[in-house]
Symmetry: none
Subunit: 199 residues, 4 copies
Amino acid sequence: MPRIGAEPARRRSLIDAALATIGEHGSLDVSVKEIAGRAGMSPALAFHYFGDKDEIILQTMRHLLREFSSEVTARLRQADSPRQRVEAIIDASFSVSQFDRKTIAAWLVFYLHACSSPPAARLFQVYARRLHSNLVDALRPLVGEESVIAAADTLGALIDGLYVRHALRADGPDAGEARRICMACLDRHLSEHAVGGVQ
Amino acid sequence: MPRIGAEPARRRSLIDAALATIGEHGSLDVSVKEIAGRAGMSPALAFHYFGDKDEIILQTMRHLLREFSSEVTARLRQADSPRQRVEAIIDASFSVSQFDRKTIAAWLVFYLHACSSPPAARLFQVYARRLHSNLVDALRPLVGEESVIAAADTLGALIDGLYVRHALRADGPDAGEARRICMACLDRHLSEHAVGGVQ
Amino acid sequence: MPRIGAEPARRRSLIDAALATIGEHGSLDVSVKEIAGRAGMSPALAFHYFGDKDEIILQTMRHLLREFSSEVTARLRQADSPRQRVEAIIDASFSVSQFDRKTIAAWLVFYLHACSSPPAARLFQVYARRLHSNLVDALRPLVGEESVIAAADTLGALIDGLYVRHALRADGPDAGEARRICMACLDRHLSEHAVGGVQ
Amino acid sequence: MPRIGAEPARRRSLIDAALATIGEHGSLDVSVKEIAGRAGMSPALAFHYFGDKDEIILQTMRHLLREFSSEVTARLRQADSPRQRVEAIIDASFSVSQFDRKTIAAWLVFYLHACSSPPAARLFQVYARRLHSNLVDALRPLVGEESVIAAADTLGALIDGLYVRHALRADGPDAGEARRICMACLDRHLSEHAVGGVQ
DNA sequence: AATGAATGAGCCTTCATTCAT
DNA sequence: AATGAATGAAGGCTCATTCAT
C-alpha cells in the first residue's frame, strides 16, 4: 500500500481537504478525522505529516495565500499599462479559483483566526502588505502620489466587501457584478483625478 | 442566592458575555462554561434560561443586529436632508458601539455562521434587507433612480470591507478614516451624477 | 392559588403521574420534572411533599400494590365457594385496572427495582406473601394439602408470565385469553386431583 | 498499550461487562463509564467500537438472545422424541447459563426496553417467534393440532413466569423446581390429551 | 402553599493526540 | 508508510436537589 514518494501528494490532498472542509463549515471547528477522511487517509497519517492540527490549518492558510498571490503575479506579468495593472489585481480577486463561496468562507475564517493566532497573523501581514504595495504601485501613475493611498484603501476595502457579500449573502454580487462595481469605482477615482489634474 | 425576578438581567448578562467571548475568540467555538463564567453564573443556569447553546448564540446575534438597527434608526430620525440620511447610516456603522474590534469580529463570526445555520441566515436576511432599503431610499434623491442600486451596492460593500479591515488588520482604518473614505466615495458618486445631470 | 387542604390531592396527582410516566418509559429513568409537570405542578413542590425522588417512587409502588390488594380483597369477599375464591384472585389479576399495558410495565419496573432497593424489596415481599397465602388458602380445599404448594406455584407463575406477555408482546394474550388459560390450567389441576382422589 | 487485532475480544469484553452491569442494576440506567471500566478500558474506546450507548445495549441484547437460541438449538439437535424436544426447550430455559439472577434481570430489562425502542422490539420479535415455533412444533405430535396453541401459550407463559420469580423473588424457584413445575404442567396437558384421545 | 432561581455532579460524546505494529 | 488501538480532556446538556421569596 505505501507508495514511495507519495508524501507531497498526500500533503496536498490534506490541504485541499482541509480547505474544502473549513470552507463548508465556515469555521475551524472541523475535526482532523473529517479532513483526513475526505483526503482518503487516516487521521494518524495527517498527524504524521503535519504534527499538529494547528499546523494543518496554518499550511492550508499559507496555501490559500500563495494561490492568490500567484494568480495576481501571473496577471500582473501580462499587464502592459498602469490601468491594466490595476485591472489585473481586481480580476485576480474575482477569478474563478478565488471567487468561490467555499474559498471565500475559508478566507474569512482565516482572517478571523489571525486575530487570535500570532503565526496566522504574521502570515496574513506579509500577504496584506504585498497586495497593498501592488495596488499602490499600480494606482500611483493613474491617480498621483497624493491620492494613491486613499484610492488603494478604497479599492482594497471595496474588494474585501464584495468578497464578503458574494460569499455570505444570498443576493450578493457574482463575479461580473463585483468586477463592474470595482471598475466603476476606479473610473470615478480616475475622472476625479483627471479633472483635478487639468485644473 | 436565588433572587427573584432576575431573569431579564441574567439573560442580558449572558448575551453580553457571549458577545464578548465570541468577539475575542473570533469564533463560535467557545464553551458555555466560559460564557456563563464571565456572566457570573453556572453553565446550568445558562441552559435553564436559553435551553441550548444554539439559542444563546442566536439570541446574541439577534441582540447585535437589533443594537445596530436602533443605532441606524436613531440617527435617521435626526437627519434632515437626503445627504444627512446617507451620512446617518455611515456614521451608525462607524459609531463607537459598533466599530469596536470585538464587536466586528462577532459580526463576522455570525456572518459566517449564517452560511450553515438556517435560523441565523433568516435573522441576517431581515437585517440585510432593511439596511439595503434604508441605503437605497437615502441615496435615491441624491443619485437618481438609474444609479441608486449601483451606489448602494458600492457603499454597502465598502462599509463591509472597512469593517473587516478595521477589525482584522493591524493597519486597518480607524473610525475617522473609515468615515472619510466612505464620504469621499459618496462624494464621487454625487459629483458624477451632478455632471451627468447637467449634460 | 394555594388551596387549603390540597395536599392529599396533590400527592395523589403526583403518584398517578409517576405511575403513568414510569409505565410509559418502562423504567425509573424519568425525571421529577416530567412527573411534576404531568401532575400540573413544579418539581419543587414534588420535593416538598415527598422529600426525595426515591420516596416518590416508593410511594408510587406502594400505591400500586395496595390497589391490587384491594381488588383481590374485594373480589374475595364476594366469593362463596373455594373455586370462586381462586377465580377471584385470577380475575383480580386480569381486571381492567390491573391488566393494562402501562400498569404492568410499571409492575415490572418495580419488580426489577426491588432487586437493588431494599425498601422496595421489603414492600414487595409483604405483598408477595399475602398473595401466596391467599392462593394457597383458596386452593387447599380444591387440590388437597399435598398438592397445594405445587398448584399455587404453578398458577402464580403462570399469572406472572401472562402478565409479562400481555404487557410486552405485540401478540400477547388479552384479558379474556389470559383468564381462559389460567382457568384451563386450574381445571387440569383439579381433574388430576379428582382422579387421584378416586384411585 | 495498543495491541493489534484486539477488536473482537474488546467488543466481547464490553458486551459481557454491559450484561453484568445491566443485570446488577436491573436497569439500563448504567453509565458507559461503568461498563467500560468493568471491561478494563476507557469509555472512549467503548464509543470507538460501538459508536453509541444505544448500540452497546442493542448488541448486548442481541448477544443474550443469540446465546439462548444456541442453547435451545444445541439441545434440540440431541432430542430423539417429541417429548424430548419439549424438554429440550424447557431445559434450555433453566440451564445454568440462562437461569442466573443477573442474566434474567437483564432479560427483563431488555423486555421492557423493547416497549420503547423499535430496534430492540424488532430483535425481540424475531426471537419470540422462533421460540414459539419451536415450542409449537415440539408440542404438536404430543397434544394434537387442536390443543397445540393453548399448550404452547401455557407452557411459554409458565416458563416466563418462573423466570421472573426466580430472578426477582427471594423465595422464587431454583432451576430444579422450575423444571419440575414445567414438566408437571406438560404432563397434565399430555394426560388430558391421552384421555381425550382414548375416549 | 408554591415556585423560580441556582448549582454540583454526572452522563454521553467528540476530539486531538500518541503509540505499537 | 500507514493505521488501528487507546486515552485524557473537554464540551453540551440533564437532573436531583436546595433555597429565597
